[in-house]
């Protein structure tokens, strides 16, 4: 009927079979225990929603309206006490080591009750993910164990990602653009470390975090080739917080300015720089893009999960309103048009969810979660007692060969095709789900009339909160272009991107 060679050739025609569907090849490889674990995580999120988020979300949002400079320390401490800042830190680094894709389901749950509190949790993992994507095992171990310690001591230790600069937002997300950008955050190589000058803006959780993964450049004329990732801790001389933004929504999650003036970062806190990857098969420029792609392939799926939560929160608000309100003489829920609208909103929730789920299948096969989800590795981490990791592993992590080895596996071991697949799917989830999330908010408010406008009914907050999702982690336009670059242009030799 069809030969092996033909099968390969036809399956590789665009859209390539491997790009089209990630769940099918991924499903048989998934350890069974991940399902049970994910169910537990969803249940935990629902419990947290019931006991913490729902009773406090509106009050917190209102408080931030009254006093935009208020910092939600009490909420951060509560999240820390619930153990949520270490749930997805691998056991080997002192965390609880829940499987990575389960985070998105968790985030969807929390975001359906409050996007802003979900961000207070989720953005910490953007920092964790940046740190781990440098594959610097010593520093990952060092900083993640501080997070764990912070949990034990009731002193939250959160991590941020700081990449956006006043003059460069879209540009820093893409190595093809960064060279043309107005980049100012300079990491000058000096004896024993880097001297950092410049500022970062809009850094989520900035004021309530302890560690900051700062992406800077040692040569501002060639930023793509000279990207460095520095771990800067609060209190480092030369580092200070600037303004805290006053925003449309997501008020409980501060967006901060970080200022660096002759801030010396010693070599021991350099997570990644070109000198560390000289043995890599890829040049530093491509390593920088790969590192960004490792991060955003995971975290843009996370934004898809935030958006699914927003779409769901809006749907649930509309459903609740329709179930309890009589409109034109009969319950709104029994108007046929309202039923169609609710079905449309339900569809938007489900489609959004499918995009992040599929993206995480791609990440499990080809991206950041690949090694951790291999069955032997997964079960080893799951069933080995934490004591073993706490005693045996830290000294091992300090050995340079561990970093070399993991970079060999993770950086050299990922093909360009795999990078494109994870990055393209992540962008699809990011802009696809967030557009649907905002759409559902609009639809909910239309259905609720004047009740949708009131803060005390909750729906208007979701509309304000959700808009951010179309902007951060690269605007939705940038993500459209990235999808084009990763999943379409690869089969169009004449296509160039960011070069019109």
């Amino acid at each position: 009927m069809i030969s092996r060679k033909e099968t390969k050739a036809y399956a590789n025609q665009p859209p390539r079979f491997d790009d089209m569907i990630c769940s099918l090849p991924a499903a048989p490889k998934i350890p069974k225990a991940m399902v049970k674990e994910t169910r537990k995580v969803v249940a935990l999120a629902r419990k947290f929603n019931q006991e913490v988020v729902r009773p406090r979300a509106l009050e917190l949002d209102r408080r931030m309206h009254e006093d935009p400079d208020y910092l939600p320390w009490d909420m951060v401490e509560t999240i820390n006490d619930w153990g949520l800042y270490t749930l997805w830190i691998p056991k080997v680094f002192g965390g609880k080591g829940y499987n990575m894709p389960s985070m998105c389901y968790f985030i969807e749950e929390i975001a359906s009750a409050c996007l802003s509190i979900a961000n207070l949790i989720g953005v910490h993992y953007l920092g964790v993910c940046t740190l781990t994507s440098t594959w610097n095992m010593r520093l990952i171990n060092h900083i993640c164990r501080e997070v764990t310690l912070g949990e034990k001591n009731h002193t939250p230790c959160l991590i941020t990602l700081a990449i956006t600069e006043p003059g460069a937002g879209t540009d820093v997300e893409e190595t093809d653009l960064i060279g043309k950008g107005n980049i100012t955050c300079h990491a000058e190589k000096v004896a024993g470390g880097y001297r950092l000058n410049g500022s970062k803006i809009f850094i989520s959780n900035g004021h309530v975090s302890t560690w900051h993964m700062v992406v800077a450049y040692s040569d501002l004329k060639k930023p793509a080739d000279t990207t460095v990732v520095l771990a800067v801790k609060n209190g480092t001389p030369g580092f200070s917080f600037g303004r805290k933004e006053h925003k449309l929504g997501q008020k409980a999650c501060p967006a901060s300015e970080l200022i660096f003036r002759d801030c010396f970062v010693p070599d021991e806190f350099v997570c990644l720089d070109p000198s560390q990857v000289t043995a890599s098969q890829r040049p530093p420029r491509e390593i920088a893009m790969q590192m960004i792609d490792y991060v955003v392939s995971a975290t843009r799926a996370g934004v898809g999960a935030f958006a699914t939560g927003a779409a769901r929160g809006a749907f649930e608000a509309a459903l609740n309103f329709a179930s309890t309100t009589v409109v034109a003489g009969k319950p709104l829920i029994n108007h046929e048009w309202a039923q169609c609208r609710l079905a449309e909103m339900y569809k938007n929730v489900t489609l959004s969810r499918l995009t992040y789920v599929e993206t995480n299948y791609a990440n499990g096969l080809h991206g950041a979660f690949r090694e951790l989800q291999k069955k032997p590795m997964y079960y080893y981490y799951k069933f080995m007692p934490a004591k073993f990791f706490d005693k045996i592993m830290p000294p091992l992590m300090n050995k340079p060969f561990m970093t070399r080895l993991s970079r060999k596996v993770q950086m050299d071991g990922q093909t360009d095709d795999e990078m494109h697949r994870t990055s393209g799917w992540a962008s699809l989830s990011k802009f696809g789900a967030t557009d649907l999330g905002v759409k559902n908010c609009q639809m909910a408010l239309e259905m609720m009339g004047q009740n949708g406008l009131r803060h005390d009914r909750g729906a208007e907050k979701i509309l304000r909160d959700a808009k951010l999702l179309q902007i951060y982690e690269g605007t939705n336009q940038l993500n459209r272009l990235n999808l084009f670059k990763c999943l379409i242009a690869v089969d169009c030799p004449q296509a160039t991107v960011f070069d019109e």
Binding site: D171, G449, L463, L468, Q470, Q477
Partner: protein
């Protein structure tokens, strides 16, 4: 009419645009902080002195005797800078037109004639609900000395501000609902603090709880739905004008920013992907202005089918304004989400305005009902 042609309208256009630029634009963010910041009382006084609240009142009762075109021009200009004052002007105009439709011109004249201050002049009104959709929760009982009203009226716009409130209530034993004028300072009325809302923050609304509050019937008993409908026919195009004003403000700010902000080594307007967003915004805005201009003319001239023109304009322009203001933030990227620019407010205001005079989907259903029966 959005593009004024006659001399009088041009003057109104100029005066209201200048007022908005001078009085509203500079303090947009500050005024938007209400109820957590001070109320812009002095601005309200100046708008009153310029007769913005008199626009549609007949000359016979001390008004300007202007039509919907004039009101639309004023509202468009105000909302381009800050929709809150537009919301106040609109709410008051809705109450006035409703009273005129109910043939309660004498009662209205008594209010406007005696008013010594803007607060005395204004009439509060729950302008975001059509009582045919969500039925009134207040009940009026006829007593020998007039009507006494018990129950609740939610989201009464200008409730904590105006000396009078026009509210819907059911009359015991009478089908349908009716409108009543009440005094919010009546000892039986309790007024909530200003309701914290999505947009139009300086156009405050409150919840009223009523216990044996004296009410003056406006219009015939049980005829509230018909009166509300007549008011909606006239005023829908003015609602559309407010949304068009918000769109205009959003487009202008987006365009200016796109010309100044650089990414990828050029002004972002140089990227055709971004230009396409601006183009969509501009096309929607242009179409909205044309629709409103035409619909306004039809309403004032009472051309055949003017009611449908007015309602269709509102339904369309309000929806489009929500999309345009969403893009208006997007063009600015991260700063669009911040209070330092006007885009985030316009995003909220556009959605808020879409709920004027009832739920958006129900407005559509009523439209099809009107043109098919």
């Amino acid at each position: 009419m959005i593009t004024p042609t006659d001399k009088e309208l041009k003057l109104i256009d100029k005066a209201s645009a200048e007022f908005a630029k001078k009085e509203l634009a500079p303090k947009r963010a500050e005024n938007d902080q209400f109820p957590f910041g001070p109320f812009f009382e002095p601005v309200l006084g100046k708008a009153f002195a310029l007769d913005f609240f008199h626009t549609v009142l007949p000359e016979s009762i001390g008004g300007m005797g202007q039509g919907i075109c004039a009101l639309s021009v004023i509202l468009r200009n105000l909302c381009r800078e800050d929709s809150s004052l537009g919301g106040i002007v609109f709410t008051n105009a809705a109450a006035q037109i409703l009273m005129l439709a109910a043939e309660a011109g004498d009662t209205l004249s008594e209010i406007t004639g005696k008013a010594g201050s803007v607060r005395d002049f204004l009439i509060a009104f729950p302008v975001f609900n059509n009582p045919s959709e969500i039925a009134p929760a207040a009940v009026a009982k006829k007593r020998s000395d007039g009507y006494k009203i018990d129950g609740r009226v939610d989201y009464v716009v200008l409730g904590g501000l105006a000396a009078h409130a026009l509210i819907p209530a059911r009359i015991e034993g009478v089908d349908g609902f009716s409108f009543f004028l009440i005094d919010p300072a009546d000892s039986g009325a309790s007024v909530s603090p200003p309701i914290h809302s999505l947009g139009l923050n300086a156009c405050p609304a409150v919840d009223l709880a009523l216990s044996a509050v004296r009410g003056t019937l406006v219009g015939a008993p049980g005829q509230g739905a018909a009166i509300f409908d007549t008011m909606t026919d006239r005023l829908s195009v003015a609602e559309a004008a407010m949304s068009a004003g918000v769109m205009k403000g959003s487009f202008q700010e987006a365009l200016e920013y796109a010309k100044a902000r650089q990414q990828g080594g050029r002004e972002i307007i140089g990227w055709s992907g971004l230009r396409m967003i601006l183009a969509n915004m501009a096309v929607h805005l242009k179409n909205a202005e044309m629709i409103i201009t035409r619909a306004g003319q039809a309403v004032d001239a009472e051309e055949s089918g003017w009611q449908a023109c007015s309602r269709a304009a509102a339904i369309h322009v309000q929806a489009v304004a929500c999309d345009v203001t969403t893009d208006g933030i997007q063009v600015l990227g991260g700063v669009g989400y911040m209070k330092d620019f006007g885009q985030e407010k316009r995003y909220r205001d556009a959605k808020h305005l879409q709920a004027l005079l009832g739920m958006a989907p129900m407005k559509k259903l009523r439209f099809i009902e009107k043109i098919t029966t």
